[in-house]
């Protein structure tokens, strides 16, 4: 009975989302308060209904209701409660429900915090979100109903269990964060569409849009970082990024979203880049939708994709064409009408933000080509080719490093009329400090490595040094330090840390794959890994073996690692659990490979310097974004006008 209630709640939510879209657009068009009055209750009702559906499905999981196909396919009586709840988004149907619920939450937030906006504009924003919600609800009910029941005689005594790959805390919480980011760009998208429908886009519009966009970007940053961290210790590959289609699908909206938050800064401060900002807002959400499409349609093969179902792929494609095609057509019609007030110099802050935007979009394009090339090739009937990591490692680092240079110089530039000579001192000091510190760090601590890595470390230090000039200067002159500036500084430091960490990991990782028996040792420079013993282990829904590996430095033991090989009973799959010991400056990593018989195992032993800082850096970026989004000027109207007036004169593009 309960699952049917959940399904019914989704049907009602579908009707409300239609009401939200129709009355929002119609009410805004007619400027009729009675029509508009329908919209906010529809949003609230939809939130309650979708929450009910989510609650019903969680209830089914927690109480082992295997009469529900989705529950039977994705959980098991031996599965711990935490994972039974997380199993909600363990496969396609539940993930969609989660997507819809997060959209309902964002929409509710927009409905709550948009009362100070002009009524017709707020209505149009909610109407666009209603259309998105309608499409996803229809998709769920039509092709992917999570409440589908099994016929009585087919109800299994026990479930098929959650995909063991997903039975991990980081992975269990990373999809909701990632989705919160993806869906958050729907808000920026809705703001863009509403602005085009109104035919009016001004600096106030940009100020409304900024905190929403920045917040979505923060969630996406953390989601991507958690996913990458998970792949590091769970898949046993020992890296932080694999250019896997599903990783790329989340990275593209992040790159374009980064471009968007910077372009919005220019639109807010100077009223420029209006049509470019609109295009980025559309693109960021389009790539989020495409991410959903790539992961869910099974068009691209990846370790992450769960289901291959052509009818779903067709539906998503039709939805993409309507949403993105419609938005871009509207753009082609309305964007030419937007006028930007004044020009700017080639070395002004606007110009540098434009260059960084170009670099970011170019980076996204490189990832896009690499991810979709196999598909395009296939569609054109050419040989199925694989654009492997080679394509990305040959192109992406150069764009990223160019971007870092642009940030390091552009951060000093003033709005409107920049003069290189004004910043010459700061640039020179920055370069000198970066060279000294960067070379000292790289060569001093690790010795000679790859050229590209050396350049990366120097440039990473340069970004950090450059981003500290302005806040230090403000403190010395006893000026106020608004949250926007603090946030921007932290996020840029995060970028620097990220570049330094990746460069170091790429150049100074030591790894060996060897066959080891009990008592045998493999040496990695000053370090050695000793394979001590192997014991059986048993978990709630798996058994396996756990090795004890002692890491020695200069012959003295410094850490004990416990890599595991687990055999999950129900899904009959073998999972690797790497043994990792994190120190402040490096990770000691060991993973078990194959059982070679006679007590010997293939073991992957690695030393990865600074790798944890890659994820820490993503956390810094997200933290910076969060602080910037909470800046006073976004919170109330009056203080907003005042702050905008104040900051235009003092610069600062957080």
């Amino acid at each position: 009975m309960l699952p049917e209630l959940g399904q019914f709640a989704l049907v009602l939510a579908l009707l409300l989302s239609a009401a939200q879209a129709v009355f929002g657009l119609w009410g805004a068009h007619r400027v009729d308060a009675r029509l508009m009055a329908v919209v906010r209750p529809a949003v609230a009702g939809q939130f309650v209904l979708v929450s009910t559906a989510v609650g019903v499905l969680i209830h089914a999981f927690v109480n082992f209701d295997f009469s529900v196909l989705y529950v039977a396919s994705n959980s098991n009586s031996a599965l711990p409660t935490f994972y039974r709840v997380a199993a909600l988004w363990g496969a396609h149907e539940g993930s969609l429900l989660l997507w819809i619920w997060i959209l309902a939450v964002w929409t509710l937030a927009v409905a709550t915090f948009s009362r100070h906006l002009p009524a017709s504009f707020a209505m149009r924003v909610m109407a666009v979100l209603g259309i998105v919600s309608f499409g996803f609800l229809l998709f769920t009910l039509y092709t992917s109903n999570p409440f589908e029941r099994l016929p009585l005689e087919q109800i299994p005594a026990d479930g098929r269990d959650l995909n063991p790959v997903l039975q991990d805390p980081a992975l269990a919480i990373h999809p909701p964060l990632l989705y919160t980011g993806y869906v958050g760009f729907a808000v920026a998208f809705a703001f863009a569409i509403a602005a085009m429908l109104e035919g009016k886009l001004d600096q106030v519009w940009a100020r409304w849009t900024r905190p929403w966009t920045t917040l979505a970007w923060c969630f996406l940053s953390v989601g991507i970082a958690l996913g990458s961290w998970w792949a590091y210790y769970e898949l046993g590959w020992g890296g932080y990024w694999f250019w896997d289609p599903v990783e790329n699908a989340s990275f593209m909206p992040w790159l374009v979203g980064t471009a968007l938050i910077h372009s919005l800064a220019v639109t807010e401060k100077r009223g420029l880049f209006k049509s470019w900002t609109l295009l980025l807002a559309i693109l960021a959400f389009s790539l989020s939708l495409l991410g959903t499409f790539l992961v869910r349609s099974g068009v691209l093969v990846s370790v992450h994709s769960f289901a291959a179902d052509p009818s779903r792929g067709m539906f998503i494609l039709a939805f993409l064409v309507i949403m993105i095609g419609g938005a871009l057509t509207l753009y082609g019609w309305r964007a030419p009408l937007l006028k930007s007030p004044a020009g700017f110099d080639a070395v002004s802050r606007e110009a540098f933000l434009l260059y960084n935007n170009i670099a970011l979009v170019l980076a996204a394009l490189v990832v896009f080509i690499g991810t979709l090339a196999p598909l395009v090739n296939d569609a054109l009937g050419l040989q199925s080719i694989s654009v492997g990591p080679g394509w990305f490692t040959r192109t992406f680092p150069f764009i990223a490093l160019a971007l870092v240079v642009l940030v390091s110089i552009g951060i000093h530039a003033a709005w409107k009329r920049g003069k290189l000579s004004d910043n010459r001192r700061r640039v020179a000091i920055g370069v000198v400090l970066a060279l000294v510190l960067g070379l000292a760090l790289s060569l001093g601590a690790y010795g000679p490595g790859k050229w590209l890595s050396l350049i990366g470390v120097v440039l990473g230090v340069w970004v950090i040094v450059s981003s500290l000039f302005d806040p230090i200067d403000r403190l010395r002159r006893k000026l106020s330090l608004p949250r926007a500036i603090i946030g921007m500084t932290i996020a840029h430091i995060g970028l620097g840390v990220c570049v330094i960490a990746i460069s170091t990991v790429e150049s100074y990782t030591v790894e060996r794959d060897v066959a080891l028996g009990a008592g045998e040792t493999v040496s990695l420079g000053r370090y050695a890994y000793r394979f001590d013993s192997l014991q059986p282990v048993e978990g709630p829904n798996y058994d396996g073996v756990r090795a004890q590996v002692t890491v020695l430095r200069d012959g003295k033991p410094m850490a004990v690692l416990h890599p595991e090989k687990r055999n999950y009973w129900v899904q009959r799959s073998v999972m690797t659990e790497a043994g990792i010991h994190s120190r402040w400056n490096m990770d000691l990593f060991a993973a078990l490979g194959e059982d070679l018989g006679e007590g010997r195992w293939s073991v992957r032993a690695q030393l990865r310097p600074l790798i944890d800082y890659v994820w820490l850096a993503a956390g810094l970026m997200a933290l910076g974004g969060g602080i910037a989004a909470s800046d006073r000027r976004y919170r109330s109207r009056q203080s907003a006008e005042a702050a905008a007036a104040a900051s235009t004169s003092t610069a600062g593009a957080a």
Binding site: P156, A308, W333, V376, D378, A379, L380
Partner: protein, 177 residues
Amino acid sequence: MNRFIIPVLVFLALAAVLFVGVRHSPNKSTMVSALLGKPAPAFELPVLGDATRTLDSRQLAGKPWVMNVWGTWCVECRIEHDTLLAIARQNRVPLVGLNWKDDDEAAQQWLAQLGNPYGVVAADREGRTAIDFGVYGAPETFFIDADGLVQYRHVGAMTPEVWEREFLSRLPQAALP
């Protein structure tokens, strides 16, 4: 022409490519088996329910056969079971079951209760043969032609439509009534 139209044109071109990709993907690019067009991996496994016999895949050579990978622990296998029974009644092509990493007793009980669509079931207790075939998750169904080459792989529950379109169509004309 106004330059603001370019994005929508680029997008429509991309959508066309994706359309073609979706139309062709389920059988071509998503679940392509590395084995397509190559000889099926040889195996010799105990026959389920008869400890004295083994099934050698070489015995099957010479005419087309279909292998269905299943297990009692697999929900979708239960869903496709009725379809398999209907297919068995057509009696067009030998249907070989590969009982994947399962408990022999449970498997025999399953077949006794639900009916046995298979001509013979090989017990792949260790899952080695399934690995040789690159099985991604049960159920999966393979079509192997008279020359012993893998011609088709279906991932997920068998449906009458898939059977009609992808399996029956691959049988040589002579085998059709």
